[in-house]
Assembly symmetry: C2
């Protein structure tokens, strides 16, 4: 049965891949994005596009929507540390306005793009959803506040909601991939080195308590992630707020990722060791048990070389575009 | 050295007692309160009064203030469960506006009225400040979001801030005491029974794993609490956010409080056992070690009979006022 979905932030990386998956599943999609960090060309063909801010959501949210998938957010950890107010205003203030518009219009289903950054430094890995939430930066704190806001909205007003806490999203889905300005994510940065656009990749700390001393993260293919969103739409139950981590449950170190890029691309990738960054935990790996059990999710693209190969194809695509 | 302080919510219970303490210490006080739950007569003589909302804080915050003491908030747990959006808008949205106004005016010191409700159901008692924060209602979640907001503001913009997480504030300071409409706090409710304004006090659950089966809470005298705020003004360090629990570290059960009211007032207080309320933990007791160590706080009114006696005097005062 096809539905009509509002995708906020649907011109961004994850939002655009999810929008594309919705379209491929036969749904109608309206993308709402203010293009502050999204790209007009990220909006998939076949989706309607509204250039606007979620704080004005009431202008566009009406009862014709079956659900909202909410990706619009400021999402640069480093920026959040120097401009925290932007994160509270955009992410928390923006979601307040969006939820109010949904309440008014009677749209009672939401899938929210949350993050592993809500947990902060973990006491135990893999991280389960009941772990303490101690965000170490305003980005994570603002996303945690939204998760709490959604919990209250579900209980009070019957919203059916699923928050998906992403670990390290990577890879690409055809011509829909990751481009941030400035780029801050590991795999795109390494690929820029492989392409000769950067001289070397900075490895922030090689003295962590990990097998090779570099940070270990859980990389998840954006297409696997997108599939979880479609499953979440089915799993949402009125009055309940389900929170699921999305990761593969496998960690790869920074050095392993760099080496994989060398193998996949055939290009040299010089490394430069730099000091640790404040707030970078040694190991962040998800327990994906809840997503598997409660959403029926079964990620099929966990192979790091495959994730990097798709990201590499996309990096070459945008290089040709320039 | 005398200073000039803005007290938001200074027409409410705790805010008015703190304002009075500031005045008695020789400071200049401006109270900002929208009177949505505060009372005009709560504003102490000698304080300037501005009737207004913290969301318009920029109108009144200027560089003449040495610090802001921020009490203005919606604070009814039960209401927050049915109208969570009000709590996000007033508490979180309101504080965003207040912090922006302070940044703009260069006011770089803040004492914030936080709450034990940020912790939710504790894993261990007494509760220390590093305990996990898992609020069980939107009131607690909104206060936790503000604590996180302040942490980021301090780190990014040099604010010197102290959050004080209150346990069960009680008692009165002369004619400055506790009156909520509707009343929802235990001691004022029991006193209304003693005064004959209510037939009986409801005891929500008598099968908790506590000595007498009723919930145990940490009652702190509002004057002890007020003194901690003046100490917090001295302890605030630019760029740092200190979080301290305020409680006595002693717990009293609901039955013990009822019995104390009988003894102090000499009136009968019938009890009615009612079902447990959702989200009411068995025991909430603070570790006050951080407040003692970091603020130099030394509460001197921990005796429950004394707390009740002061509350009883105030209850008789407002009964005469009617």
């Amino acid at each position: 049965m096809s539905g009509k979905y509002l995708v906020t932030g649907g011109a961004g990386y994850v939002g655009s891949v999810v929008a594309r998956h919705l379209l491929e599943a036969g749904h109608e999609v309206v993308v709402l994005d203010n293009l502050s960090t999204g790209f007009r060309q990220g909006v998939p063909a076949g989706a309607s596009f509204v250039e606007g801010d979620i704080r004005d959501a009431a202008k566009w949210v009406d009862s014709s929507f079956d659900a909202v998938l909410h990706f619009a957010a400021s999402s640069q950890v480093g920026e959040s540390v120097v401009k925290p107010e932007k994160y509270w205003e955009n992410n928390v203030g923006g979601t307040m306005a969006l939820l109010a518009a949904m309440r008014e219009a009677g749209v009672r289903k939401l899938v929210f793009s949350s993050t592993a950054a809500t947990y902060g430094e973990p006491e135990q890995v893999p991280i389960v959803e009941t772990a303490p939430t101690r965000p170490t930066n305003p980005y994570g704190a603002s996303k945690l506040a939204v998760d709490h806001m959604i919990t209250g909205e579900a209980a009070a007003h019957g919203l059916g909601a699923v928050s998906l806490r992403y670990f390290n999203v990577a890879g690409a889905y055809g011509t829909y991939g990751e481009r941030h300005a400035p780029e801050s994510h590991l795999i795109p940065l390494i690929l820029q080195v492989a392409q000769g656009h950067r001289n070397a990749i900075s490895v922030f700390g090689d003295d962590y308590p990990t097998p090779d001393g570099t940070c270990v993260r859980d990389y998840i293919h954006v297409a696997d992630l997108a599939e979880a969103h479609l499953l979440a739409l089915k799993a949402a139950v009125p009055g309940e707020h389900l929170i699921c981590n999305l990761g593969n449950g496998n960690g790869f170190s920074v050095r392993e990722v760099v080496e994989t890029v060398r193998q996949v691309t055939g290009h040299p990738v010089p490394e430069v060791v730099a000091p640790r960054r404040a707030g970078d935990p040694a190991v962040l790996v998800a327990s994906a048990a809840a997503a598997r059990e409660k959403l029926g999710w079964n990620p099929s693209r966990a192979d790091l070389a495959g994730i990097v190969a798709d990201a590499w194809e996309f990096a070459q695509h945008i290089a040709r575009e320039r």
